[in-house]
Subunit: 276 residues, 2 copies
Protein backbone atom coordinates (compact mmCIF):
# COMPACT_ATOMS: atom_id res chain seq x y z
CA UNK A 1 0.00 0.00 0.00
CA UNK A 2 3.09 2.25 0.12
CA UNK A 3 2.31 3.59 -3.35
CA UNK A 4 -1.13 4.88 -2.47
CA UNK A 5 -1.49 8.64 -2.00
CA UNK A 6 -2.73 10.00 1.33
CA UNK A 7 -6.05 11.59 0.42
CA UNK A 8 -8.76 13.30 2.43
CA UNK A 9 -12.21 11.75 2.14
CA UNK A 10 -15.60 13.20 3.03
CA UNK A 11 -18.38 10.75 3.85
CA UNK A 12 -22.07 10.95 4.70
CA UNK A 13 -22.96 8.39 7.33
CA UNK A 14 -26.35 6.95 8.33
CA UNK A 15 -26.74 5.01 11.56
CA UNK A 16 -29.25 3.57 13.96
CA UNK A 17 -27.60 4.72 17.19
CA UNK A 18 -29.72 2.50 19.48
CA UNK A 19 -26.96 0.03 20.24
CA UNK A 20 -24.03 2.48 20.40
CA UNK A 21 -22.48 4.60 23.11
CA UNK A 22 -22.61 7.64 20.82
CA UNK A 23 -20.50 8.84 17.90
CA UNK A 24 -17.26 9.48 19.74
CA UNK A 25 -14.83 6.72 20.70
CA UNK A 26 -15.17 5.70 24.36
CA UNK A 27 -13.43 2.91 26.18
CA UNK A 28 -15.42 -0.29 26.56
CA UNK A 29 -18.37 0.75 24.38
CA UNK A 30 -19.18 0.32 20.71
CA UNK A 31 -19.24 3.72 19.00
CA UNK A 32 -19.84 4.92 15.47
CA UNK A 33 -16.37 6.50 15.21
CA UNK A 34 -14.86 3.32 16.64
CA UNK A 35 -16.58 1.12 14.04
CA UNK A 36 -15.53 3.40 11.18
CA UNK A 37 -11.91 3.54 12.38
CA UNK A 38 -11.79 -0.22 12.91
CA UNK A 39 -12.86 -1.07 9.37
CA UNK A 40 -10.71 1.69 7.82
CA UNK A 41 -7.67 0.29 9.63
CA UNK A 42 -8.58 -3.14 8.32
CA UNK A 43 -8.93 -1.83 4.76
CA UNK A 44 -5.87 0.44 4.66
CA UNK A 45 -3.56 -1.36 7.10
CA UNK A 46 -2.93 1.92 8.89
CA UNK A 47 -4.58 3.72 11.78
CA UNK A 48 -7.12 6.22 10.47
CA UNK A 49 -8.64 8.96 12.61
CA UNK A 50 -12.27 9.78 11.71
CA UNK A 51 -13.65 13.26 12.47
CA UNK A 52 -17.41 13.82 12.65
CA UNK A 53 -19.45 16.99 12.20
CA UNK A 54 -21.48 16.30 15.34
CA UNK A 55 -20.72 14.18 18.39
CA UNK A 56 -24.13 12.55 18.69
CA UNK A 57 -24.88 11.11 22.14
CA UNK A 58 -25.57 7.47 23.00
CA UNK A 59 -28.78 6.32 21.31
CA UNK A 60 -28.99 9.27 18.89
CA UNK A 61 -29.33 8.46 15.18
CA UNK A 62 -28.09 10.06 11.98
CA UNK A 63 -29.04 10.01 8.35
CA UNK A 64 -26.71 12.84 7.42
CA UNK A 65 -23.70 12.74 9.75
CA UNK A 66 -20.65 14.01 7.85
CA UNK A 67 -17.15 12.72 8.53
CA UNK A 68 -13.71 13.27 7.09
CA UNK A 69 -10.58 11.16 7.30
CA UNK A 70 -7.20 10.83 5.62
CA UNK A 71 -6.35 7.44 4.19
CA UNK A 72 -3.97 5.65 1.85
CA UNK A 73 -6.18 3.96 -0.72
CA UNK A 74 -5.44 3.10 -4.34
CA UNK A 75 -8.79 1.97 -5.74
CA UNK A 76 -11.03 5.03 -5.96
CA UNK A 77 -13.89 6.36 -3.87
CA UNK A 78 -16.60 4.02 -5.12
CA UNK A 79 -14.55 0.98 -4.23
CA UNK A 80 -13.71 2.37 -0.79
CA UNK A 81 -17.39 3.10 -0.09
CA UNK A 82 -18.44 -0.40 -1.18
CA UNK A 83 -15.67 -2.00 0.87
CA UNK A 84 -16.66 0.02 3.95
CA UNK A 85 -20.34 -0.90 3.56
CA UNK A 86 -19.44 -4.57 3.14
CA UNK A 87 -17.55 -4.55 6.46
CA UNK A 88 -19.67 -2.19 8.57
CA UNK A 89 -22.44 -3.66 10.74
CA UNK A 90 -26.01 -3.44 9.39
CA UNK A 91 -26.88 -0.45 11.55
CA UNK A 92 -24.18 1.82 10.03
CA UNK A 93 -23.74 2.71 6.34
CA UNK A 94 -21.67 5.11 4.27
CA UNK A 95 -24.39 6.79 2.18
CA UNK A 96 -21.94 8.87 0.12
CA UNK A 97 -18.17 9.23 -0.14
CA UNK A 98 -15.98 11.57 -2.12
CA UNK A 99 -12.52 13.08 -2.10
CA UNK A 100 -12.26 16.40 -0.31
CA UNK A 101 -9.79 19.24 -0.24
CA UNK A 102 -7.15 19.07 2.51
CA UNK A 103 -8.77 22.19 3.99
CA UNK A 104 -12.10 20.43 4.47
CA UNK A 105 -12.90 19.60 8.11
CA UNK A 106 -16.19 17.83 8.90
CA UNK A 107 -16.64 19.74 12.14
CA UNK A 108 -14.92 23.10 11.67
CA UNK A 109 -16.01 23.69 8.07
CA UNK A 110 -19.69 23.00 8.85
CA UNK A 111 -22.01 26.00 8.50
CA UNK A 112 -25.34 24.49 9.52
CA UNK A 113 -26.63 21.36 11.24
CA UNK A 114 -30.20 20.12 10.96
CA UNK A 115 -31.60 17.85 13.67
CA UNK A 116 -35.05 16.26 13.63
CA UNK A 117 -36.66 15.07 16.86
CA UNK A 118 -39.57 12.63 16.44
CA UNK A 119 -42.39 12.22 18.94
CA UNK A 120 -44.92 9.43 18.72
CA UNK A 121 -48.16 10.58 20.36
CA UNK A 122 -50.39 7.70 21.29
CA UNK A 123 -52.25 6.37 24.33
CA UNK A 124 -50.41 3.06 23.83
CA UNK A 125 -46.75 2.28 23.10
CA UNK A 126 -45.91 1.92 19.38
CA UNK A 127 -43.39 -0.96 19.10
CA UNK A 128 -42.47 -0.21 15.47
CA UNK A 129 -41.40 3.31 16.43
CA UNK A 130 -39.69 2.53 19.70
CA UNK A 131 -36.13 2.87 18.35
CA UNK A 132 -36.74 6.15 16.52
CA UNK A 133 -39.34 8.14 18.41
CA UNK A 134 -40.06 9.31 21.93
CA UNK A 135 -43.44 7.95 23.00
CA UNK A 136 -45.78 10.48 24.61
CA UNK A 137 -49.20 9.47 25.95
CA UNK A 138 -50.52 13.01 26.44
CA UNK A 139 -52.34 14.82 23.68
CA UNK A 140 -49.91 17.60 22.78
CA UNK A 141 -50.88 21.19 22.02
CA UNK A 142 -48.80 21.58 18.87
CA UNK A 143 -49.70 25.22 18.26
CA UNK A 144 -48.50 26.16 21.76
CA UNK A 145 -45.25 24.24 21.13
CA UNK A 146 -44.82 26.03 17.81
CA UNK A 147 -45.51 29.43 19.38
CA UNK A 148 -42.80 28.74 21.96
CA UNK A 149 -40.37 27.36 19.35
CA UNK A 150 -40.54 30.62 17.37
CA UNK A 151 -38.60 32.29 20.21
CA UNK A 152 -35.60 30.09 19.37
CA UNK A 153 -34.96 31.61 15.95
CA UNK A 154 -32.15 34.13 15.78
CA UNK A 155 -28.68 34.75 17.19
CA UNK A 156 -28.84 34.55 20.98
CA UNK A 157 -27.44 32.99 24.11
CA UNK A 158 -28.70 29.41 24.56
CA UNK A 159 -27.07 28.85 27.98
CA UNK A 160 -30.47 27.72 29.33
CA UNK A 161 -30.25 24.62 27.15
CA UNK A 162 -26.63 23.56 27.47
CA UNK A 163 -23.09 24.45 28.37
CA UNK A 164 -20.46 25.50 25.85
CA UNK A 165 -17.00 23.95 25.65
CA UNK A 166 -14.57 25.55 28.13
CA UNK A 167 -13.33 28.95 26.99
CA UNK A 168 -16.17 29.54 24.50
CA UNK A 169 -19.59 31.13 24.78
CA UNK A 170 -23.12 29.78 24.39
CA UNK A 171 -24.28 32.13 21.65
CA UNK A 172 -25.60 30.27 18.63
CA UNK A 173 -27.73 31.12 15.60
CA UNK A 174 -30.90 29.12 15.07
CA UNK A 175 -32.10 29.46 11.48
CA UNK A 176 -35.36 27.55 11.81
CA UNK A 177 -37.29 25.66 14.50
CA UNK A 178 -40.62 24.11 13.64
CA UNK A 179 -43.01 21.33 14.50
CA UNK A 180 -44.60 19.31 11.70
CA UNK A 181 -47.07 16.50 11.72
CA UNK A 182 -45.93 13.64 9.51
CA UNK A 183 -48.38 13.28 6.63
CA UNK A 184 -50.68 10.32 7.18
CA UNK A 185 -49.85 8.57 3.93
CA UNK A 186 -52.16 5.68 3.13
CA UNK A 187 -49.04 3.75 2.25
CA UNK A 188 -47.89 3.86 5.82
CA UNK A 189 -50.76 1.73 7.05
CA UNK A 190 -47.81 0.24 8.87
CA UNK A 191 -47.51 3.21 11.15
CA UNK A 192 -51.10 4.38 11.28
CA UNK A 193 -52.09 3.87 14.91
CA UNK A 194 -49.95 6.70 16.25
CA UNK A 195 -49.68 10.41 15.47
CA UNK A 196 -46.12 11.33 14.63
CA UNK A 197 -44.77 14.81 15.28
CA UNK A 198 -41.37 15.99 14.13
CA UNK A 199 -39.44 18.96 15.46
CA UNK A 200 -36.90 20.29 12.97
CA UNK A 201 -34.22 22.63 14.21
CA UNK A 202 -31.37 24.05 12.16
CA UNK A 203 -28.53 26.11 13.61
CA UNK A 204 -24.93 27.06 12.91
CA UNK A 205 -23.95 24.82 15.83
CA UNK A 206 -25.46 23.33 18.96
CA UNK A 207 -24.43 23.13 22.59
CA UNK A 208 -24.08 19.64 24.04
CA UNK A 209 -27.57 18.30 24.85
CA UNK A 210 -29.21 21.49 23.50
CA UNK A 211 -31.78 19.90 21.17
CA UNK A 212 -32.94 17.38 23.74
CA UNK A 213 -33.30 20.06 26.48
CA UNK A 214 -35.19 22.31 24.06
CA UNK A 215 -37.53 19.45 23.09
CA UNK A 216 -38.01 18.42 26.73
CA UNK A 217 -39.03 21.99 27.58
CA UNK A 218 -41.26 22.33 24.49
CA UNK A 219 -43.02 19.10 25.50
CA UNK A 220 -43.76 20.70 28.89
CA UNK A 221 -45.46 23.46 26.88
CA UNK A 222 -47.31 20.90 24.75
CA UNK A 223 -48.59 19.15 27.88
CA UNK A 224 -49.79 22.42 29.36
CA UNK A 225 -47.43 22.49 32.33
CA UNK A 226 -45.65 25.56 30.93
CA UNK A 227 -47.03 28.44 28.85
CA UNK A 228 -45.25 29.64 25.69
CA UNK A 229 -44.26 32.77 27.64
CA UNK A 230 -42.74 30.48 30.28
CA UNK A 231 -40.58 28.91 27.58
CA UNK A 232 -39.39 32.38 26.51
CA UNK A 233 -38.58 33.12 30.16
CA UNK A 234 -36.51 29.93 30.43
CA UNK A 235 -34.57 30.88 27.29
CA UNK A 236 -33.98 34.42 28.58
CA UNK A 237 -32.87 33.13 32.02
CA UNK A 238 -29.72 31.45 30.62
CA UNK A 239 -30.19 28.98 33.50
CA UNK A 240 -30.16 25.23 32.65
CA UNK A 241 -31.82 24.62 36.02
CA UNK A 242 -35.03 26.15 34.63
CA UNK A 243 -35.19 23.97 31.51
CA UNK A 244 -37.09 20.68 31.64
CA UNK A 245 -35.07 17.43 31.65
CA UNK A 246 -33.71 16.46 28.23
CA UNK A 247 -36.07 14.44 26.01
CA UNK A 248 -34.84 10.85 25.44
CA UNK A 249 -32.05 10.19 22.93
CA UNK A 250 -34.05 7.75 20.79
CA UNK A 251 -36.14 10.52 19.18
CA UNK A 252 -33.15 12.51 17.91
CA UNK A 253 -31.57 12.27 14.47
CA UNK A 254 -28.81 14.35 12.85
CA UNK A 255 -30.27 14.73 9.37
CA UNK A 256 -28.09 17.17 7.48
CA UNK A 257 -24.85 19.12 7.78
CA UNK A 258 -24.23 21.96 5.33
CA UNK A 259 -20.91 23.39 4.13
CA UNK A 260 -19.90 26.49 2.23
CA UNK A 261 -18.44 24.26 -0.49
CA UNK A 262 -21.96 22.87 -1.10
CA UNK A 263 -23.44 26.29 -1.94
CA UNK A 264 -25.67 25.89 -4.95
CA UNK A 265 -26.51 22.29 -4.06
CA UNK A 266 -28.61 23.10 -1.01
CA UNK A 267 -31.21 20.49 -0.16
CA UNK A 268 -34.86 21.12 0.67
CA UNK A 269 -33.91 21.86 4.26
CA UNK A 270 -31.61 24.78 3.58
CA UNK A 271 -34.32 27.20 2.49
CA UNK A 272 -35.31 28.52 5.91
CA UNK A 273 -34.91 32.15 6.96
CA UNK A 274 -31.35 33.39 7.26
CA UNK A 275 -29.60 34.27 10.49
CA UNK A 276 -31.39 36.98 12.41
CA UNK B 1 -59.70 -15.00 41.15
CA UNK B 2 -62.45 -17.64 41.44
CA UNK B 3 -65.13 -14.94 41.29
CA UNK B 4 -64.05 -13.51 37.96
CA UNK B 5 -66.18 -14.41 34.94
CA UNK B 6 -64.60 -16.21 31.98
CA UNK B 7 -64.87 -13.67 29.19
CA UNK B 8 -63.71 -13.59 25.59
CA UNK B 9 -61.42 -10.71 24.69
CA UNK B 10 -60.46 -9.35 21.28
CA UNK B 11 -57.16 -7.53 21.00
CA UNK B 12 -55.27 -5.65 18.30
CA UNK B 13 -51.56 -6.34 18.56
CA UNK B 14 -48.58 -4.44 17.14
CA UNK B 15 -45.15 -6.01 17.05
CA UNK B 16 -41.69 -5.69 15.63
CA UNK B 17 -41.19 -9.31 14.60
CA UNK B 18 -37.42 -9.01 14.02
CA UNK B 19 -36.40 -10.90 17.13
CA UNK B 20 -39.18 -13.52 17.13
CA UNK B 21 -39.62 -16.94 15.56
CA UNK B 22 -43.04 -15.89 14.23
CA UNK B 23 -46.50 -15.53 15.76
CA UNK B 24 -47.15 -19.15 16.60
CA UNK B 25 -45.67 -20.89 19.65
CA UNK B 26 -42.64 -23.01 18.78
CA UNK B 27 -40.35 -24.88 21.12
CA UNK B 28 -37.11 -23.12 21.99
CA UNK B 29 -37.93 -19.83 20.29
CA UNK B 30 -39.50 -16.58 21.47
CA UNK B 31 -42.84 -16.06 19.70
CA UNK B 32 -45.57 -13.44 19.84
CA UNK B 33 -48.21 -15.94 20.92
CA UNK B 34 -45.81 -17.30 23.54
CA UNK B 35 -45.17 -13.84 25.01
CA UNK B 36 -48.89 -13.03 25.12
CA UNK B 37 -49.74 -16.36 26.78
CA UNK B 38 -46.90 -16.01 29.27
CA UNK B 39 -48.01 -12.62 30.55
CA UNK B 40 -51.72 -13.57 30.53
CA UNK B 41 -50.92 -16.61 32.65
CA UNK B 42 -49.00 -14.34 35.00
CA UNK B 43 -51.91 -11.88 35.21
CA UNK B 44 -54.78 -14.38 35.53
CA UNK B 45 -53.02 -17.28 37.29
CA UNK B 46 -54.45 -19.67 34.68
CA UNK B 47 -53.24 -20.95 31.34
CA UNK B 48 -54.67 -18.84 28.53
CA UNK B 49 -54.63 -19.89 24.88
CA UNK B 50 -54.25 -16.98 22.44
CA UNK B 51 -55.60 -17.32 18.88
CA UNK B 52 -54.32 -15.01 16.14
CA UNK B 53 -55.93 -13.97 12.84
CA UNK B 54 -52.73 -14.63 10.91
CA UNK B 55 -49.75 -16.84 11.68
CA UNK B 56 -47.05 -14.42 10.66
CA UNK B 57 -43.66 -16.00 9.92
CA UNK B 58 -40.38 -15.36 11.71
CA UNK B 59 -39.30 -11.75 11.21
CA UNK B 60 -42.69 -10.54 9.93
CA UNK B 61 -44.25 -7.53 11.69
CA UNK B 62 -47.77 -6.47 12.52
CA UNK B 63 -49.56 -3.25 13.36
CA UNK B 64 -53.01 -4.79 13.15
CA UNK B 65 -52.77 -8.46 14.14
CA UNK B 66 -56.03 -9.47 15.83
CA UNK B 67 -56.18 -12.06 18.61
CA UNK B 68 -58.84 -13.50 20.86
CA UNK B 69 -58.55 -15.33 24.16
CA UNK B 70 -60.76 -16.37 27.07
CA UNK B 71 -59.63 -15.22 30.48
CA UNK B 72 -60.80 -14.81 34.05
CA UNK B 73 -60.31 -11.14 34.90
CA UNK B 74 -62.22 -8.91 37.29
CA UNK B 75 -60.90 -5.42 36.57
CA UNK B 76 -62.23 -4.41 33.17
CA UNK B 77 -60.68 -4.22 29.71
CA UNK B 78 -58.76 -0.99 30.16
CA UNK B 79 -56.95 -2.37 33.19
CA UNK B 80 -56.18 -5.65 31.45
CA UNK B 81 -54.73 -3.79 28.44
CA UNK B 82 -52.57 -1.57 30.65
CA UNK B 83 -51.39 -4.55 32.69
CA UNK B 84 -50.49 -6.47 29.52
CA UNK B 85 -48.59 -3.49 28.07
CA UNK B 86 -46.72 -3.02 31.32
CA UNK B 87 -45.49 -6.63 31.23
CA UNK B 88 -44.95 -7.19 27.50
CA UNK B 89 -41.49 -6.52 26.03
CA UNK B 90 -40.99 -3.20 24.22
CA UNK B 91 -41.38 -4.76 20.78
CA UNK B 92 -44.95 -6.00 21.40
CA UNK B 93 -47.97 -3.91 22.44
CA UNK B 94 -51.72 -4.37 22.78
CA UNK B 95 -53.01 -1.43 20.75
CA UNK B 96 -56.69 -2.09 21.56
CA UNK B 97 -58.62 -4.55 23.69
CA UNK B 98 -62.33 -5.13 24.13
CA UNK B 99 -64.77 -7.82 25.17
CA UNK B 100 -66.06 -9.97 22.33
CA UNK B 101 -68.97 -12.29 21.79
CA UNK B 102 -68.25 -15.98 22.48
CA UNK B 103 -68.84 -16.58 18.78
CA UNK B 104 -65.97 -14.28 17.79
CA UNK B 105 -62.87 -16.09 16.52
CA UNK B 106 -59.83 -14.05 15.48
CA UNK B 107 -59.00 -16.42 12.64
CA UNK B 108 -62.26 -17.96 11.50
CA UNK B 109 -64.41 -14.82 11.78
CA UNK B 110 -61.97 -12.73 9.75
CA UNK B 111 -63.27 -11.54 6.36
CA UNK B 112 -60.24 -9.66 5.02
CA UNK B 113 -56.56 -9.33 5.77
CA UNK B 114 -54.40 -6.44 4.58
CA UNK B 115 -50.65 -6.90 4.31
CA UNK B 116 -48.16 -4.20 3.35
CA UNK B 117 -44.73 -5.11 2.00
CA UNK B 118 -42.13 -2.34 2.10
CA UNK B 119 -39.17 -2.07 -0.26
CA UNK B 120 -36.36 0.40 0.24
CA UNK B 121 -34.82 1.19 -3.14
CA UNK B 122 -31.36 2.67 -2.83
CA UNK B 123 -27.85 2.10 -4.17
CA UNK B 124 -26.66 1.91 -0.55
CA UNK B 125 -28.06 0.09 2.50
CA UNK B 126 -30.42 2.20 4.65
CA UNK B 127 -29.67 1.31 8.31
CA UNK B 128 -32.75 3.05 9.70
CA UNK B 129 -35.02 0.91 7.53
CA UNK B 130 -33.19 -2.38 7.89
CA UNK B 131 -35.71 -3.92 10.30
CA UNK B 132 -38.82 -2.93 8.33
CA UNK B 133 -37.97 -2.90 4.64
CA UNK B 134 -36.33 -5.13 2.06
CA UNK B 135 -33.36 -3.30 0.56
CA UNK B 136 -33.16 -3.37 -3.23
CA UNK B 137 -30.25 -1.79 -5.10
CA UNK B 138 -31.82 -1.97 -8.56
CA UNK B 139 -33.98 0.82 -9.93
CA UNK B 140 -37.43 -0.80 -10.03
CA UNK B 141 -39.95 -0.37 -12.85
CA UNK B 142 -42.97 0.34 -10.67
CA UNK B 143 -45.44 0.62 -13.54
CA UNK B 144 -44.47 -2.86 -14.78
CA UNK B 145 -44.86 -4.21 -11.23
CA UNK B 146 -48.27 -2.54 -10.98
CA UNK B 147 -49.37 -3.89 -14.36
CA UNK B 148 -48.45 -7.41 -13.20
CA UNK B 149 -50.09 -6.93 -9.79
CA UNK B 150 -53.44 -6.14 -11.43
CA UNK B 151 -53.65 -9.79 -12.49
CA UNK B 152 -53.89 -10.78 -8.82
CA UNK B 153 -57.27 -9.13 -8.21
CA UNK B 154 -60.26 -11.44 -8.22
CA UNK B 155 -61.25 -14.93 -7.07
CA UNK B 156 -58.75 -17.42 -8.44
CA UNK B 157 -56.35 -20.25 -7.69
CA UNK B 158 -53.12 -18.95 -6.12
CA UNK B 159 -51.35 -22.33 -6.00
CA UNK B 160 -48.36 -20.74 -7.80
CA UNK B 161 -47.64 -18.70 -4.67
CA UNK B 162 -48.21 -21.18 -1.85
CA UNK B 163 -49.73 -24.39 -0.65
CA UNK B 164 -53.07 -24.63 1.15
CA UNK B 165 -53.56 -26.50 4.43
CA UNK B 166 -54.13 -30.24 3.86
CA UNK B 167 -57.64 -31.00 2.64
CA UNK B 168 -58.40 -27.47 1.43
CA UNK B 169 -57.90 -25.68 -1.85
CA UNK B 170 -55.78 -22.71 -2.91
CA UNK B 171 -58.56 -20.48 -4.23
CA UNK B 172 -58.57 -17.07 -2.59
CA UNK B 173 -60.14 -13.69 -3.35
CA UNK B 174 -57.76 -10.75 -3.67
CA UNK B 175 -59.68 -7.48 -3.29
CA UNK B 176 -56.83 -5.10 -4.04
CA UNK B 177 -53.14 -5.27 -4.91
CA UNK B 178 -51.23 -2.07 -5.51
CA UNK B 179 -47.82 -0.46 -5.34
CA UNK B 180 -47.49 2.99 -3.84
CA UNK B 181 -44.54 5.28 -3.36
CA UNK B 182 -44.42 6.64 0.16
CA UNK B 183 -44.93 10.39 0.03
CA UNK B 184 -41.64 12.22 0.48
CA UNK B 185 -42.75 14.31 3.43
CA UNK B 186 -40.33 17.03 4.38
CA UNK B 187 -40.79 15.92 7.96
CA UNK B 188 -39.20 12.62 7.20
CA UNK B 189 -35.82 14.16 6.52
CA UNK B 190 -34.89 11.19 8.65
CA UNK B 191 -35.62 8.74 5.87
CA UNK B 192 -34.84 10.88 2.85
CA UNK B 193 -31.90 9.11 1.22
CA UNK B 194 -33.92 6.11 0.04
CA UNK B 195 -37.04 5.69 -2.11
CA UNK B 196 -39.65 3.67 -0.28
CA UNK B 197 -42.18 1.56 -2.14
CA UNK B 198 -45.09 -0.20 -0.46
CA UNK B 199 -47.10 -3.06 -1.88
CA UNK B 200 -50.55 -3.34 -0.34
CA UNK B 201 -52.51 -6.52 -0.82
CA UNK B 202 -55.89 -7.31 0.68
CA UNK B 203 -57.59 -10.70 0.42
CA UNK B 204 -60.13 -12.84 2.22
CA UNK B 205 -57.26 -15.10 3.28
CA UNK B 206 -53.70 -15.94 2.22
CA UNK B 207 -51.79 -19.15 1.63
CA UNK B 208 -48.68 -19.65 3.74
CA UNK B 209 -45.84 -17.58 2.23
CA UNK B 210 -48.14 -16.18 -0.46
CA UNK B 211 -47.43 -12.47 -0.05
CA UNK B 212 -43.67 -12.96 0.04
CA UNK B 213 -43.69 -15.18 -3.07
CA UNK B 214 -45.92 -12.67 -4.90
CA UNK B 215 -43.59 -9.82 -3.94
CA UNK B 216 -40.48 -11.83 -4.88
CA UNK B 217 -41.98 -12.47 -8.32
CA UNK B 218 -43.18 -8.88 -8.75
CA UNK B 219 -39.64 -7.69 -7.94
CA UNK B 220 -38.38 -9.91 -10.78
CA UNK B 221 -40.78 -7.94 -12.99
CA UNK B 222 -39.56 -4.64 -11.50
CA UNK B 223 -35.95 -5.59 -12.23
CA UNK B 224 -36.79 -6.51 -15.81
CA UNK B 225 -35.99 -10.22 -15.54
CA UNK B 226 -39.68 -11.10 -16.09
CA UNK B 227 -42.34 -9.31 -18.17
CA UNK B 228 -45.79 -8.54 -16.72
CA UNK B 229 -47.14 -11.26 -19.05
CA UNK B 230 -44.62 -13.66 -17.51
CA UNK B 231 -46.08 -12.88 -14.10
CA UNK B 232 -49.57 -13.69 -15.40
CA UNK B 233 -48.19 -16.96 -16.78
CA UNK B 234 -46.71 -17.88 -13.40
CA UNK B 235 -50.06 -17.19 -11.72
CA UNK B 236 -51.92 -19.26 -14.31
CA UNK B 237 -49.44 -22.15 -14.04
CA UNK B 238 -50.43 -22.95 -10.41
CA UNK B 239 -46.80 -24.13 -10.05
CA UNK B 240 -44.78 -22.76 -7.09
CA UNK B 241 -41.65 -23.85 -8.95
CA UNK B 242 -42.22 -21.03 -11.45
CA UNK B 243 -42.55 -18.27 -8.86
CA UNK B 244 -39.44 -16.39 -7.74
CA UNK B 245 -38.04 -17.06 -4.25
CA UNK B 246 -40.01 -15.37 -1.47
CA UNK B 247 -39.01 -11.79 -0.64
CA UNK B 248 -37.40 -11.47 2.82
CA UNK B 249 -39.62 -11.48 5.91
CA UNK B 250 -38.41 -8.09 7.21
CA UNK B 251 -40.44 -6.13 4.62
CA UNK B 252 -43.78 -7.69 5.52
CA UNK B 253 -46.37 -6.30 7.93
CA UNK B 254 -49.90 -7.49 8.76
CA UNK B 255 -51.66 -4.14 8.93
CA UNK B 256 -55.36 -4.81 9.25
CA UNK B 257 -57.84 -7.64 9.74
CA UNK B 258 -61.52 -6.95 9.05
CA UNK B 259 -64.60 -8.68 10.51
CA UNK B 260 -68.28 -8.67 9.68
CA UNK B 261 -68.98 -7.27 13.16
CA UNK B 262 -66.94 -4.19 12.24
CA UNK B 263 -69.20 -3.26 9.30
CA UNK B 264 -69.83 0.47 9.40
CA UNK B 265 -66.49 1.15 11.12
CA UNK B 266 -64.33 0.26 8.13
CA UNK B 267 -60.97 1.98 8.03
CA UNK B 268 -59.39 3.72 5.05
CA UNK B 269 -58.14 0.41 3.71
CA UNK B 270 -61.52 -1.30 3.41
CA UNK B 271 -62.79 0.78 0.52
CA UNK B 272 -61.24 -1.21 -2.33
CA UNK B 273 -63.24 -3.00 -4.98
CA UNK B 274 -65.39 -5.88 -3.76
CA UNK B 275 -64.74 -9.52 -4.49
CA UNK B 276 -64.59 -10.23 -8.17
Amino acid sequence: MGQAPLLRYRGTIEYDGTDYGGFQVQPGQPTIQGELERILEHLTQAHVRVHGAGRTDAGVHATGQVVHFDAYWTHGCGDLQRAMNALLPGDIAVRALREADQSFHARFSARRRLYVYTVCESPVRAPLWRRFAHHVRACLDVSAMQEAACALVGRQDFAAFGQPPVGTNSVRTVFAAQWREAASERCSATWAPARRLCFEIEADAFLRGMVRRIVGTLLAVGMGSMAPQGFRDVLASRDTGRAAPPAPACGLCLCQVSYAEDAGQTGPTATGPGAA
